[in-house]
Subunit: 212 residues, 2 copies
DNA sequence: TAGATTGTTAATCGATTAACAATC
DNA sequence: TAGATTGTTAATCGATTAACAATC
């Protein structure tokens, strides 16, 4: 990897490139030029070449990019050639859904445990796993070498949960709570702000109507 | 509203401003300067003033911004002073969670129906609502004046569902499928790419480790 | 070799930040 | 009035696009 200061804009496009490459693989396409890729994915050919060249020269002049090769490179860049061990905190609606979702869809990400504060839920089963008490989370993260904590609790306790996870030595936090949380610089953080996104949708719906 | 070409970067910050304003309201804070707001929310004071001035002069020189006033203005800008009628398409894991989530959390957004292709689920109840057959969705959207369709189906059928919703005259689509969908320009679209976000998290986890 | 297409530098565009005059 | 803080213009920064030489 050439450079460690890749902008977030670039990083956030990589998973999208990867999705389209998987589609191409399914169709048996072996090579693609930046121009063809551009028409498919909707970024300019220039941007595609610029993005990929942040990480190395994956293409071949006069030919294009090998679909398989590029897919593997992006996997390696994103770290998807590794396994990640996750815990879910919060076994409510969202926690339940994310557990199922994570278990079914995203290969390479393994849900190892579900934690909950609510006494009534502790001990019950979720997707074949026994829901554990939040009290034991630090020990579990350490012992089970958990990489990622998925925060599915209410906003009020989200920061507290994050603090505990960081204390336990978690490497990354995936936050679904409706608040911004803070983590030390050695912990990676991504947030899914569902309500913020829905509110942006409302704006665009009204904006479209206004213009006509 | 002064200008209709507000950049997406600005729009996506508005819900965040709003969240912090609600927190301030809860604490009984009545006014805030861009400098104080900056320290709270983490954007520069200059950016806050610049953002807000896209929509009008909501502040008062020498004083700052009224918390209540600004909150109302942002509500109006985002269109959160209206009610939105939603349908959920896909009663699987994610559909179930989003239904609960939407019903519980986001005031102003009403879930009016849940639709599903899978025969086995049709007629069963979800959050007190009877799951309906996907076949009847166009009629339902028209008759019930539905504004937003939430796509919680698998990637393979997401575009087809989107097409049907657009045909039925939907105003906005909230997409949770793992594919990019296309809609005509008069339909608003926001996508929540869970797996893309998780992959970006993986990148940052590895990036942090590399730097040390 | 000629044609195609990358890798990379230069130009443009847009978004963020700084500065300051206007004004409460 | 003096002090504070906005609204707004100008400067900077970063990201995207265009251009083209390198090279397969």
């Amino acid at each position: 990897m050439k450079n460690s200061k890749i902008s977030n804009a670039v990083i956030n496009r990589l998973p999208r490139y990867r999705r389209y490459l998987i589609e191409l693989q399914k169709k048996g396409v072996e090579k693609i030029s930046s121009k063809e890729f551009s028409e498919l994915i909707g970024y300019t050919a220039s941007q595609i070449r610029q993005d990929l060249n942040n990480f190395g020269g994956f293409g071949q002049q006069g030919y294009g990019y090998s679909v398989d090769g590029l897919k593997s490179e992006i996997d390696a860049i994103l770290g998807l050639d590794k396994e990640y061990r996750m815990v879910i905190i919060g076994a409510g609606n969202l926690g339940h859904a994310i557990t199922k979702y994570a278990k079914s869809i995203t290969a390479g990400f393994k849900v190892c445990g579900v934690f909950e504060k609510n006494e009534k839920l502790i001990g019950t089963k979720l997707e074949g796993m026994e829901i554990m008490s939040y009290e034991g989370i630090v020990e579990f993260v350490e012992k089970e070498k958990i990489d990622i904590g998925v925060i599915c609790v209410n906003g009020d306790s989200a920061q507290e949960v994050a603090d505990k996870l960081c204390f336990a030595g978690i490497k990354g936090i995936w936050n679904f709570a409706r608040v911004d949380i803070e983590v030390p610089p050695h912990v990676a953080l991504e947030s899914m702000q569902l309500s913020d996104n829905l509110h942006a949708l409302a704006y665009h719906m009204n904006d479209i109507r206004k213009k006509r």
